[in-house]
């Protein structure tokens, strides 16, 4: 075991993947609790598809993927939020609409330019090799911003998650904090999607939150548990991925599934007992 770990850390690309992955897993878990409770789970999924489209376009134009993806996904996040709040097309349908559109446009562009190559495959299902030095620096800065904002606004986030109308009525600018949540989610998704893959990144947002809710009884403990669980699952997942040469994203999700089942079992027993 120790040998495997030492071996892993001797590869710079794996060290980078671990750093970025841990940060993204942490941010995704924290944001996830609020998103899942606000019934916005599918926003993460929608955004990752938009991110996929944006990255394909970036590849076609030969520019750095993150430079294109971050603004596009942030914009999409605001749009999705608006759509899900006050439109004739209700939230879930709006998200499905946008995510499939982005996917379709992405696939069209692929077929007209490069064709299905390894880059595209990696965007969809993730690659452990995706992180460059620059990406690591950017990830550290952005996740630091996500974490700081999250801690500073923790009490506001609780209030708008539990009861938006009450928060608004008592003078909290709920719209602003919703936008902030969408913004932070967008950034987290773009950072994580190249390692986890566009198809699987939303699992990082949904799984830790849902799993923690099986057992935990307070908001704070759900948050803390989700954060630790998310990092743990990511770590075990990447270990599996290294040992069995499986794709990173899928490995992490599989570990998350196992934890979800274990927690559900514990929750069930507790409820009965």
């Amino acid at each position: 075991m120790n040998n495997v770990l030492a071996e892993m850390f001797s590869y710079p690309f794996l060290t980078r993947a671990l750093i970025v992955g841990t940060l993204v897993a942490l941010c995704a878990a924290l944001l996830g609790v609020s998103l899942v409770l606000k019934r916005y789970s599918m926003i993460g999924d929608g955004l990752s598809h938009v991110g996929f489209g944006a990255m394909v376009i970036a590849t076609a134009l030969n520019v750095a993927p993150l430079v294109v993806a971050i603004p596009v996904v942030v914009l999409a996040a605001f749009l999705l939020l608006r759509l899900s709040q006050n439109s004739k097309i209700k939230g879930d349908a709006a998200i499905a609409l946008i995510s499939t559109s982005a996917l379709a446009v992405g696939v069209m562009i692929i077929s007209m330019t490069t064709g299905m190559n390894t880059d595209v495959y990696n965007y969809m299902f993730g690659s452990i090799l995706a992180m460059s030095e620059n990406d690591v620096r950017l990830s550290i800065v952005l996740s630091a911003i996500v974490l700081v904002l999250f801690v500073v606004f923790y009490n506001r986030i609780f209030a708008i998650t539990f009861d938006e109308t009450f928060a608004q009525a008592t003078g909290t600018k709920a719209g602003l904090y919703n936008m902030m949540l969408a913004f932070l989610t967008a950034i987290t998704i773009v950072l994580g999607m190249r390692m986890m893959g566009a198809m699987l990144i939303s699992s990082l947002i949904i799984f830790p939150a849902l799993t923690s809710m099986r057992v935990c009884k307070t908001f704070k403990s759900v948050m803390i548990n989700a954060a630790i669980l998310s990092i743990f699952c990511f770590f075990v997942g990447i270990l599996l991925s290294y040992v069995f040469a499986t794709p990173t994203g899928a490995s992490v999700v599989v570990v998350n599934i196992v934890m979800f089942l274990i927690y559900s079992g514990i929750g069930f027993v507790k409820e009965r007992g």
């Binding site: 409770l37 606000k38 019934r39 801690v151 500073v152 606004f153 923790y154 009490n155 506001r156 609780f158 209030a159 998650t161 539990f162 009861d163 109308t165 009450f166 928060a167 608004q168 009525a169 008592t170 003078g171 909290t172 923690s212 809710m213 935990c216 009884k217 307070t218 908001f219 704070k220 759900v222």
Partner: protein, 236 residues
């Protein structure tokens, strides 16, 4: 000066006028009950009083000593809350958010306030329990404690007893009466349950399209609109 004064207020809901020419005022210490059929604009009026919606005509003034953000509010429960993993204490404390200003975290004063309000509503012993595991009546008490944290003067209640059984409903009315009498907090409540509230409320606002009644409960019982709404079987 009144806590709230509505002058010739009109309210629209999805483009349609639901209330027009609404005139009433709420004085400190009042217990005002807003009644009326479904779709008569009760919830819209509550939203307007909370400044979540602006009137299409007229003005809603709040007295100098009452800031719009200092109104305690007991909303109708949402689906999101039914399975929300938060402790009673966390929910009650979140009512203090409007006292924070620019501070990010709650201080001693807010925590003490949350404890006091839990004591008022007799939920101190369940403060560590999970909100989603509570009964409907207990959940309403928690939300009431949270609303008390947000205000020292005025409480707006939107159908607080919806979905509760008769015993719990009576308990909740007792509590609201106690809050009004002992803590001196003004109550504005929307309710369908006329027979129970007519004993407690000091004023009634009856919304029925163009036929609006506003006055004391005693006056209301004398009017034809009141008689009709209270129901003949209760009156000999």
């Amino acid at each position: 000066m009144s806590l709230i004064t509505c002058k010739d207020v009109s309210l629209a809901y999805e483009g349609k006028n639901v209330i027009s020419g609404l005139d009433f005022s709420v004085e400190s210490g009042d217990y005002l009950c807003i009644v009326g059929e479904n779709g008569s604009g009760k919830s819209t009026l509550i939203k307007a009083l909370l400044r979540l919606k602006s009137p299409s005509a007229g003005v809603i003034e709040t007295g100098e000593e009452l800031l719009a953000s200092e109104i305690g509010y007991l909303p109708q429960q949402t689906i999101v809350q039914k399975d929300f993993p938060a402790s009673v204490y966390e929910v009650v404390l979140s009512g203090c958010l409007n006292r924070l200003g620019r501070r990010p975290f709650y201080g001693k004063a807010e925590k003490k306030m949350a404890q006091e309000n839990m004591k008022h509503l007799d939920i101190s012993d369940i403060q560590r329990e999970c909100y989603r595991d509570l009964s409907g009546g207990q959940q309403q008490r928690v939300l009431l404690a949270r609303a008390l944290c947000a205000t020292k003067k005025l409480l707006l209640l939107d159908e607080p007893v919806a979905g509760l059984d008769p015993v719990v409903t009576q308990e909740l009315y007792q509590l609201i009466k106690k809050i009004n009498k002992e803590l001196g907090i003004t109550i504005v409540m929307v309710s369908h349950d006329m027979n129970s509230i007519i004993k407690d409320a000091s004023h009634i606002l009856h919304l029925k399209n163009d036929n609006i009644f506003f006055g004391t409960t005693a006056e209301y019982e004398q009017t034809s609109i009141g008689e009709e709404f209270i129901g003949g079987e209760e009156r000999e």
